[in-house]
């Protein structure tokens, strides 16, 4: 397969996944925003959502005073924010269009329709109690995409690069989502593990559509330790960091490594998985959750860089190119 094609499929998939994950972050913020709070210390969830989504630098206002409406606008529609849902859905579609013959009609149809529908959406769709419904729609776009990929793509190299893109993005996003909880400062009167703290953990699970899965898995009340285990280490949890890294390892094996660089990226991923599998929640918390997550995000990032170099990627399809008249 052409390196450019592999690159395009990888990024198409990453962008679809990123759009869903931005929706999950916003949903987490929206849910935390709803938690009744005492006047003395407003939880700073919108600032933390901006930091976790990596959008604090593109946000036009003062992030200390960020509120739901302005953050939602920035993360959903802002063309200046490359991670906004609009930009992600558009980039996914641009990459799919550039790799049109490498994806099935079914996959193209989903990506193209998502974009066509997103283009019709306006500010009106995310205010006045419509935000939650909108975010559900964005998440369902991701599910449709995954379904189309699973049901229609040949299980060849192209499929592996699509799966790799999603897994890489997910490993990053779940770590970032969990980090939101670190940044949300608790009012001084609240103890960690107290009522507000507990509710925030619950809302975090809800935002990842995994509260029920969590209950089925642990059959116990929501504790920080259990949530951290579920979202980082649990093998059966489909969005956990460990599950995502495992997917990366498996797909790199399927693709196979010819060059030393390609073999190296496989080895790095396997090493990362081995480390995760021998880790306990206690060790993570002893290390400091935020510090551990920061390091994990960095490592996934480095792995992505090695992968790109090993397979001759040169980044997602850009927005402008030299054109000719014909």
């Amino acid at each position: 397969m052409l390196s450019r094609t592999a690159n395009g499929l990888f990024w198409m998939s990453r962008y679809v996944e990123r759009a869903s994950n931005i929706a999950r972050l916003l949903d987490a913020g929206r849910r935390m925003d709803n938690i009744p709070n005492s006047d003395e210390g407003r939880a700073s969830e919108w600032e933390s959502i901006l930091i976790a989504s990596g959008s604090h630098e593109t946000y036009p206002g003062d992030i200390k005073n960020a509120d739901m409406e302005s953050v939602a606008e920035h993360l959903i529609f802002d063309a200046e924010n490359p991670s906004s849902i609009m930009c992600c859905i558009k980039s996914a579609r641009e990459n799919a269009r550039a790799m049109r013959i490498a994806v099935t009609t079914e996959v193209w149809d989903v990506v193209n329709s998502n974009w066509a529908e997103m283009r019709q959406r306006t500010h009106h769709d995310i205010v006045g109690g419509r935000l939650a419904g909108f975010l559900d729609w964005v998440k369902s776009c991701g599910f449709l995409f995954q379904g189309a990929v699973e049901a229609s793509m040949l299980r060849d190299e192209g499929y592996c690069f699509i799966t790799l893109g999603a897994a890489m993005e997910r490993a990053d996003a779940t770590a970032r989502l969990l980090d939101v909880k670190y940044h949300v400062l608790l009012p001084s009167t609240q103890d960690v593990g107290g009522g507000l703290d507990h509710m925030q953990w619950v809302q975090l699970l809800r935002a990842t559509n995994s509260l029920r899965a969590f209950r089925w898995t642990y059959r116990e009340t929501v504790t920080p330790q259990a949530v951290v285990h579920f979202l980082i280490l649990n093998r059966t949890s489909p969005r956990s960091v460990a599950a995502s890294i495992r997917t990366i390892v498996e797909n790199l094996e399927s693709i196979g490594g010819e060059t030393p660089m390609q073999r190296m990226v496989g080895q790095q991923a396997r090493d990362m998985l081995t480390r995760l599998e021998s880790l306990s929640v206690e060790q993570i918390i002893a290390h400091g959750l935020h510090e551990w997550l920061t390091n994990q995000i960095l490592e996934v990032n480095i792995l992505g860089g090695v992968l790109a170099e090993a397979y001759g990627f040169n980044g997602p399809v850009a927005a402008e190119e030299q054109s000719q008249s014909q």
Binding site: L2, S3, R100, E320, E321, S323
Partner: protein, 467 residues
């Protein structure tokens, strides 16, 4: 004016099945089908890009549901005439880059060749595999009365539109299974095989074994990108961009996840000037550095060959009937539209005196832009245009306004008559042939003669009937 559906007051036998269908179902049913067809086109993504005009950057080309129909006899003549023309054009191109016999014989003046922007001196003395420059050649035809066709222009570089021919058929066969079930319409879906076979037959001398084919696109921002993906998919060949390729030891390779892979025949859909920054425009990011050197050393075949554009110039067009006689020793089957050259004083005089009756075109223009349609222009417009001709007479040609045929087209309340043209796609490899059909373009505005998609033109399915 000739309406292709009728002979006198009678519906021609070729169109009787359309009339029967309409009688049975009514025009509303056809309108419903049209909406359905549009949704299909939109989903497939068969759009063309329009920049700088605002609005949706990706537009659907309007599709008319009423097919344009040719009888077997009509088609035989079009087929033979188009093949003849493509053979003569290829012989001409090979000649002008080598012997120049046609210049020596005093038929075509040398300045029309050397002064031509599309002429590529780098091709001098080089004969492409099979002696073919224009492997895919579009011959634009208009009809003035039953069976009387004229060639309007030739397209020897990278003629586009074949994806519409095949997609239109696909949609029509979904919409009107009962009309196709009879087997009376000749199929067109072997185009991909025909093209792949022709490409393989012109493999470069260095190629051993089965040649690897590829299609070179400028990328997804190009207005014809859909067609590039469509064709690559149809032939099952890799769709590559310039940066995917590199040249080493006079061979061309693709960068793949499994390392370098050789490519032997490249159907390029990028212009000559962008093809090789080492040879043409040095700032081109769309091309492949060194590919011309590899080409001339027999490591790769470029389809269509660089420099083929000389033959589709409007100043050269005038000489095509003479080329047919000169190279093939045959009489031209499809005549040219009578043409006056403003570069010649006596002909220019006639043109200037009759501007109100003539169509005047820029020699190097395309796409229906920059032309004057005398009978449809105001006195001011004509005077304005006359000044442009005076400033550069050699830059213009003029033709009579032909009474172009119309074809039945779906209007708001049933069928209306609209002007049409036809572009068959002639493929040249070991043999020269074409599929029974082509791109019918239709001017959707009442009375309009301009069929270009950029100016309100649409397309139709083209049916060639079995004997």
């Amino acid at each position: 004016m000739f309406n292709e559906m009728y002979r006198g007051d009678e519906v021609r036998p070729e169109y009787r099945m359309i009339q029967d269908w309409l009688n049975a179902n009514g025009p509303d049913a056809l309108n419903e089908k049209r909406a359905e067809a549009e949704a299909l086109f939109r989903r497939v993504g068969i759009t063309f890009a329009v920049y700088g005009e605002g609005g949706d950057p990706e537009r659907l080309i309007p599709f008319d549901m009423v097919p344009r129909i040719f009888s077997a006899t009509e088609w035989d003549r079009i087929e033979a005439g188009s093949i003849q023309r493509a053979r003569a054009l290829n012989a001409f191109l090979t000649d002008i880059y080598s012997e120049r016999a046609i210049v020596k014989a005093g038929i075509v003046p040398a300045e029309l060749i050397d002064g031509n922007e599309a002429y590529e001196p780098v091709m001098e003395g080089f004969i492409p595999p099979g002696g073919i420059y224009s492997h895919i050649c579009g011959v634009d035809l208009v009809q003035v009365s039953e069976g009387e066709n004229y060639v309007l222009e030739d397209n020897c570089r990278t003629p586009s539109g074949i994806s519409y021919v095949l997609e239109n058929r696909e949609v029509m066969s979904r919409m009107f299974p009962e009309l196709f079930r009879t087997g009376i319409v000749r199929p067109v879906d072997h185009y991909g095989d025909m093209l792949a076979e022709a490409m393989a037959s012109v493999a470069p001398p260095m190629c051993e074994g089965e040649p690897t084919l590829g299609l070179l696109t400028p990328g997804h921002f190009n207005s014809a990108y859909y067609e590039h993906t469509f064709l690559a998919d149809l032939m099952g060949v890799e769709l590559v961009e310039g940066p995917d390729l590199f040249v080493e030891d006079n061979r061309v390779f693709m960068r793949t996840t499994q390392g370098a892979q050789r490519i032997d025949v490249l159907y390029r859909r990028i212009d000559d000037s962008f093809l090789d920054p080492k040879c043409f425009r040095p700032d081109s990011m769309l091309g492949v550095p060194g590919i011309m050197e590899a080409y001339k050393n027999g490591g790769v075949t470029i389809v269509n060959a660089p420099g083929a554009g000389v033959a589709d110039d409007k100043a050269i067009y005038i000489y095509v009937p003479e080329m047919v006689k000169f190279y093939l020793g045959e009489e031209p089957i499809l005549p040219n539209v009578p043409t006056w050259r403003c570069g010649k004083a006596d002909e220019c005089k006639y043109v200037m005196e009759n501007l109100h009756d003539l169509v005047v075109k820029e020699v190097h223009g395309s796409g229906g832009y920059g032309m004057l349609i005398g009978p449809k222009s105001t006195k001011e417009e004509i005077a304005e245009y006359a000044k442009r001709i005076e400033a550069n007479p050699a830059g213009f040609i003029a033709q009579p306004t032909l009474a172009l045929s119309t074809a039945p087209t779906l209007g708001d309340d049933g069928l209306v008559s609209r002007h049409v043209d036809l572009r068959p796609f002639v493929i040249s490899g070991r043999e020269t042939k074409l599929i029974p059909g082509g791109l019918t373009r239709v001017a959707l505005k009442e009375g309009s003669l301009v069929v270009n998609s950029s100016q309100g033109g649409g397309v139709k399915d083209t049916w060639v009937l079995n004997k």
